[in-house]
Structure formats: C-alpha cells, structure tokens
C-alpha cells in the first residue's frame, strides 16, 4: 500500500525517533547573517537533519544536543531505523537509491549546525507572532456528501469504505527486510 510521502510527516516520524533517544530537536531562529546566511531549510532537508541526529545518537550512544557543528558522523542509516520509520509513516523506502538520497539530504541539512544558536530562543512555528483568528460559531459548510464520496474508490450507501480494522501491514511485512550495512 503506497501512501503519498509527506515531508512534514516524515520529519515528524524522524523527530519522534530522535525524541525516543532523548535528543531534543528545536528549530533555532536563523539570525540575520548577511548574504551568505543559510537559506531556510526545505522540508526534505529538515527531516534529513532529524534522521541524521538520530543516527548519530544511535552510533555514539546518548548525549546532549549541542549547537556547535560536530564532525561528520558515519552518515549511514541503519536498516533497523529504516524499518521503524517505514512503519510509522507508511513511506516506502524500497530501494538502495532512496536510502542514498536520504543520506545525502541528511549531510546537506547538517550545514545548519554551522549556525551558532547559543542563547537564542527556540521558535515554535513560523506563525508564532501572528494572531490566531477566531471564527464565530455558525454553520456555513457541509451538505456535500455526493461531492466528497466521488473521491473514494469504493462507496457503500454514502459511507466511505476502508479495509477492516487498522491499515493493513501485510504489504510491508511481506517485503524482504532491508539489508543492514
């Protein structure tokens, strides 16, 4: 079963994997560094960075997260980690190529560590200075069952049809376990 890969989703899964190893991921405010300032990382770079942290922590055991740039780690993503991330996010990491691309993205994102963020307040979201709009409690939407049901592959009497119970793992389980480096 293939699910559209979402960078934010994968980043979340990776960041949780890291959190499980008691590292903390924070997005530091990128200070104004002038023209050669790092551009804001894209989604893929963000999750790559998260996975990178995770793998380094796995390689070197638990240690605290520092803001100083660390020397390059092994740059390898273990088979076990891939399996774990695949289960969490339902993203299919079928090929060796995909993993290599991931490792390259991790290395690219690592450049973020060059920024000194000592004493900088972590940002929660790019919207954190905005005002949260409050909508009044009126009914203005709905009544479009027909339209919505058109999106569904299978429909039974105005209900969406899904596989029984939880999403089936059978496809994932049937695959060969990914070769461990």
């Amino acid at each position: 079963m293939s699910v559209q890969a979402s960078p934010t989703l994968f980043m979340a899964s990776a960041s949780a994997a890291v959190a499980a190893l008691s590292d903390v991921i924070t997005f530091k405010r990128v200070a104004r560094l002038g023209e050669d300032a790092l551009r804001r990382p894209t989604g893929s770079e963000m999750w790559a960075r998260a996975v990178h942290l995770c793998l380094r922590a796995a390689a070197r055991g638990r240690r605290g997260f520092t803001s100083k740039a660390d020397p390059q780690g092994s740059g390898r993503v273990t088979g076990e980690l891939i399996q774990h991330l695949e289960r969490l996010s339902l993203v299919d990491f079928g090929s060796q190529e995909a993993v290599a691309r991931l490792e390259k993205a991790i290395a690219f994102a690592d450049r973020l560590r060059a920024v000194n963020t000592d004493g900088v307040e972590p940002m929660e979201s790019v919207l954190e200075d905005r005002c949260l709009y409050l909508r009044s409690d009126n009914v203005v939407e709905g009544n479009c069952a027909e339209e919505l049901l058109q999106n569904s592959h299978r429909v039974v009497e105005e209900y969406f049809v899904a596989p029984p119970g939880n999403i089936s793992w059978s496809k994932l389980d049937e695959k060969q376990p990914f070769p461990h480096h």
Binding site: L127, A145, P163
Partner: protein, 557 residues
Amino acid sequence: MAAPMLRWCCPGRRFAFARVGCGSCHRRGPPTGSTSNGKRGQSTVAQQPHITAQKPRKGEREWAAVVGLEIHAQIASNSKLFSGSQVHFAAPPNSLVSFFDASLPGTLPVLNRRCVEAAVMTGLALDCHINRKSLFDRKHYFYADLPAGYQITQQRLPIAVNGSLAYSVSVGRKPSQMVTRTVRVKQIQLEQDSGKSLHDDLRSQTLIDLNRAGIGLLEVVLEPDMSCGEEAATAVRELQLILQALGTSQANMAEGQLRVDANISVHRPGEPLGVRTEVKNLNSARFLARAIDYEIQRQINELENGGEILNETRSFDYKLGCTVPMRDKEGKQDYRFMPEPNLPPLLLYDSGSLPPGADPQQVIDIDRLRERLPELPRVTRERLVRQYGMLPEHSCALLNEVGLLEFFQSVIKETRAEPKKVTSWVLNTFLGFLKQQNLAVSESPVTPSALAELLDLLDRKAISSSAAKQVFEELWRNEGKTPAQIVAEKKLELLQDLEALEQLCRSTLEAHPHVVMDLKRGNPRAINKLIGLVRKATLGRADPTAIKEVLERQLSS
C-alpha cells in the same frame, strides 16, 4: 457541598474470589492521616485508602488500587472545532462534512470561538489555572476514521491545568454519612473528534462516516487519585452535572457525548505503583464502576497467582462483563507529536491585559467569562439546603434527574405549601410515578401548576393527604381535569362541618363502649380503632388528626 450521592454496594460480592471491598467507602470515621476540613466533612486529596480483604487468610496483606481517568466531552456548539460544518447527532452519513473535515488538500483549520469559551468556562468551573498562551499540536496515528492521519490536539501546553473536582461518597449505611473527596484535574485540552467506523466483518470492510470528524472535544485528565469504580463513577457523574450546568456539553453518555478511558493499577500500600493498564470503551454510566472494579480484581488475581500485568490497552466487553485486550493496540504507540504548523498560539486575556482597541470578536476575556459562569451544582445543592431546609441527599436527588430541579422550583413558586411538603411530594410521589413508567420529567402528564394547586388544597386542609394521593393518581391519567374538579367529582373534600364531626364521634364512642374501656385501661392503640371507625362513618372524608383531637377531647370530659 454534597455531590451525587453514592450508595455503596460492595463489588466483592460479584466475583468468585470475593476478596476485595473498597475500604475507603466502609470507613466510619475520618480516614487516618488526612487533614480535616473542620466545617463540613473531611476532604482527602490524593488519598490512597486501603482495600481490605473480605475474609483475610492468615498472613495476607492488603491491596490498594489506583484509578486515573481521561474523559472526553463533546462541546455543545453549532459548528465544529476547526470548520464550519454542523454538529448534530443523527444525520445522513457524511452530510455534515466539510472539505477540511474530509482532509482534502488545500484546506486549513480555523478555530471556533465558542469552543475556546467552552474550554475556559470548564477550566474556571474546575478551579484550573487558565494558560494565557496555549499551543496546538498534531498527534499522528493511522486509522480509517481519521482522514488526515493526525488529530489536532494540545499536548505541549493545554488551555487549562491544575484544577480539582470534588465529589461526595457515602460511608456507612446511613445516607447522611457522606464524605467529600477531591480528585486533581491534571489538564483540560481542546482536540478534534474522529469519525465513526462501522465494522462489517461479513464483507471484511469498514464503513466510515465522517459526520463526527472534527467536532470539538474537551479532554479532561483526572489524576490517579481515585481508588475504586464507585469513586470514579461518582466523579464522572459530578463532572457531567457541571458540564450540563455550564452548557458546555450535554455530556450524554448514551449519545456518545461523554467518553471515559480509565488507567488502572494495583499495588501494596507502601510499595511503588504497579504497572497500569488502560481500559477504553467505557461509554455507559452503568457499567463504568463495574468495568473498573473488574479490572482491579483481575489485576489482583493475576498478581496473587504469580503472574504479571502487561502495560496494555483493554476494552470492556459489556456482554461478558469483563475486560479484554485490544489487539489493535499492541505495543506502545508512537504518536510523533509535532507543533501544528497552521495555527499560531492561542492567546487569552483578562480585563487587565486586554489590548486596547481590539476587536471584541477576536479576543477572549477570561474575567468576563468568569462573571458569566452559571451556578455550579455544588453551589446549587448548598443553596437548596439553606433556602428550603432540605437534607443534602434530597438536594442531590433533585439535581440528579434532568428537569427535576426546574419542576420543583416552578411548584414552589406557585404554591403556598411548605417547602418541605413540596420536596417530599416531588421526590417521593412525583418521582416515584415517573420512575415506575420510565418517563422523563419533560414527559410528565402532571404540570407544576397542577401539583401546586393540589398542594394548596392540602395546605388549606380542604382534603386529607390520602385523598391528595388519590387526586394525584387521577391527575396522572391526564384527562385534563384540574385538582379542584377531581376533588368535587369524587367527593374527596374533608368534612368541614365540625358539629357533624362531633356528633359522629360521640355516637361512635357510645356504640363501642368496650373499646372506650380498653382505652381507659391504658391501651393507647385503642384510639386508632376509634379513629378508624369514625373515618368509616365519615366515608373517609374526615382528617384523622382532627378526629383524634375531637375524640380525645370528648373522652377526657
């Protein structure tokens, strides 16, 4: 003060190994080690009362159970938490679903002001600290009724924290022996509800209805300060009453507006807490206590037989009356919490911090909400006791039935009868008839005015109390007659003619000299026989107390 009254019934008797009774509810005096509140009852916070064995064998020690609750209450609002589709219980499948609820790409959440107010009011009613800034997060898990693959909730910084909920349990046999317990409220958070799945095992498929997806929920997390099913059920009941009084949720468990998950563990007092299990699918007030007690007993049995408790999620099977493991939830769930990127922090203000010139529609003032809080059940009960001189258990009973308090207050307004009489009639006669025919107050054939009129007749001594009961039965038949009409029709008026009564008494005394002799010899119950005879002679239209008075006067002369 008095919260829903709790009749203790020992769960131990239900199970084969009847070794557990909730000792806390059996204690007569103040629980050891607690601080007394002085004035009314004793308050215990985070008390772990001991569960004592019913018939302890030699050398056996006690067990203590620890119960925490996560309660989800559907917010009573017109539209959903983050979208403008309608909130309604029964509607054609998928008809109350917006593009956002179906998680179509390109849609964004827009927060509903009413839901935020509901959360703040609930937090204030439970004495919580309201966080001036709270944040929204995504909780990821895959399930067919969660179309986005994540639920928007408040994990890092919820809207309200650190409150308390007080409830009363009865200790001992008399209903007047009640003790107030408190359970700490860890937090209250806003989150989305998921859709509904109907499992069609025959065709191996699940049918999904998203009408419920996106409805605002208040999750109220209660700390593990409770020690048995009855305490948990009473706490839930009190929370239900509070939510209904505030109007923030209808909290009807039958309609799925209030759902409870319990975290249960057992341990020996003095030792560290045991492994806990989570029991889900507790959607019935009736089975809540039973399910929790079953799980406590199951854990005790397991441990006493040398087994161990797994940290798992279980479900309560109503038909079998036991908890069963939920296969879908094996292993620890990894929810991958992340900040919701589409929602800025939620900022709340009070009158001191309101930004000047702000659009009133866009800011929420906690102080204004606090002023507008309606009377809470605890305060209502105390007021009823004070104002009408009724017993605490009566005020509990009045609040326990939907609409009963309003009925009572309507009658009080229209009648001249004493409040105690009204209380007694409403709680005994009226409620008795309702329960017999399984009717709600709103379905009652007797209106408050009718009852008020009847009580006026009784108060004026125009009819006797037994005649009043007859009239009430007639009224219940709902044939459109007023009490006065029924009294006239059935000739139930009390004999007002004192002279005739005197005459009847005199003639009865003359006709039954041996009874008079019996009375004069000192048998006090002989007077009742005489009263009975006079009543028969008056065709039941004379007031027994009046008869007694006349007879005694005549006998003494």
